[in-house]
Amino acid sequence: MTASSGAQMRGAAGRIRPHARPRETGLLILVAVVLVVGSISLGATQRQLAGQKLSWLPADAGQLVIYLGALVAAHLALIVAGRRSDQVLLPTIGLLGGISLLLMERLPQSLVTQSLAGRDFGLASIQLGWLLLAIAVIAIAAVAVRSDAWLRRYKYTWAAAGIALLLLTFLFGDEVNGALLTIQVGPFSGQPTELIKVILVIFLAGYLSEFRPLLVTESMRLGPLRLPPLQYLLPMLAMWAMALGIVVIQRDLGAALLFFAVFLALVYIATARASYVLIGLVLFVAGSVIAYELFGTVRDRVDIWLDPFADASGKGYQVVQSLYAFGRGGIIGTGLGAGLPLVAGRLPIPAIHTDFPFAALGEELGLIGVVAILGLYLIVIERGLRVAASAADDFRALLAAGLTLVVGVQAFIIAAGNLKLIPLTGVTLPFISYGGSSLLANGVVVGLLLALSDRGVEPPPPPRVAGRRRPRLLGGPAGAGR
């Protein structure tokens, strides 16, 4: 037993003292060097292929400088704010975002165009704008979020907001590639599913941390399965129904898969009971079979996955082209800017900037590059789970683990889909795919993780137990005790 009296007293809140972050500085310098080298490689290759004069200038120096400047600004903001948060997350996300920028500079700029204030912007410029916003979101969340009370206290409000967003998409959503995903507001369109995944994790963390003791108690035994009281299984069923609802109404398989996987993982983390996971998997298989029988979209995806070459120029076209791209890339890749041969004058994969950036990177950076990118996601997961492991209470631990898993599982789903390891479902590759909603939502995730990783963060409030009184003074006789 150790008692360190007073030494662990938390410093008075509100005082802000800058705190150096040497590890982050070092890693960011490394990131800048790597990105400049990548940009030089891209520029030289593009000039060589276009037959222009040789030079070693980066591909688009201006954009790269702006991007690196934003990273440095976020770094300085964290130093000035004096938060003792994780120092590896920001450089890792910075590297992923930088790779995204290089990829978008490299793809045909006409894939996405937007006119704003009389000027036309191409793919890379728009992506750069979103990346800057995402970095700003990360920095603001990491500096400003000093208490998680607003997250833990209003979990049902958050759940309601999530369901409202889902309904909005259902009522006013536009169809993209057979899935009801986007909402159009003025000139901007957004994908609410990206935000819903963050809200879902907040709700689940709140719900599971409150009912964890009840979920762990067992009241029934069904053969080798130990089951909790039946009413606590209801949220599981509700979650399953919601995932199926997303498949049925929105035809968004990726989001449904992501939500259910993260839900099961969080339940397991909270209860450490394999029986929950088993029940969840049984439900998942049952739901998949039902969806396969009833919905053409699901059947198509599975058939393409089983044999994309059966209809290589039709339904299986994108997946086949993706496999060819990985094949062309080989071990060290064709080099940035040298891949993507056009098929009949057009891009082989139309959705290369949103759904197939992993295939594009597989072609240009090869197996080595793709493994490195998976490694970067692993670093994000490791840091996030470390935040969860050192959290002070269950809510924070579950929140950090859930946020981490949202990013990790999503990266796995789309990377595996590109590689034909699992049926392709259209989710974005976090921090690399083109798209504002995805970048901003993932920015919120990383910002919250950074805030949670701070050791000097406000201690969690004592939990309030539903229907019970607040702590009260003892009413015993004076001088009691034996």
Partner: protein
Amino acid sequence: MDPYVVAIWIVRIAFLGGLYLFMFGVARLLLRDLRAAARDPKGALARLVVVGSDVSEPPRGTVFGLDAVATIGRDVNNSIVVEDDFASTEHAVLTFRGRAWYVEDLASTNGTFVNGQRIDALNAIAYGDELQVGRVRFRFERARR
């Protein structure tokens, strides 16, 4: 061979190498953290932080590391000694049973409270819960790793 082509090839490989250099850098930090953690053997399974104690011992801010069994009470033989008129000699015991933590009231006169509710006999306790013994309030926390 065109020297320009060779140079482009070298830059290309340098970029891939850079990605791995970054990962190596992160791995080195991780290793340093692990070594530091190994040098600092805090075997505690959880922590108990005193969050409210106006007139009694231990004072506010004291942190106790917990073993699998930790007894609380006024007697000096307890793992956590609470000097408070409203605490019993052997007041409560915290136990870690493989998966979850439990708190048990040892038939104390004034009772043991979890989140303001008086507990009878054995009760599960979760990280973040508030435990009250006599006039001393503790917060039950995860061990810092």
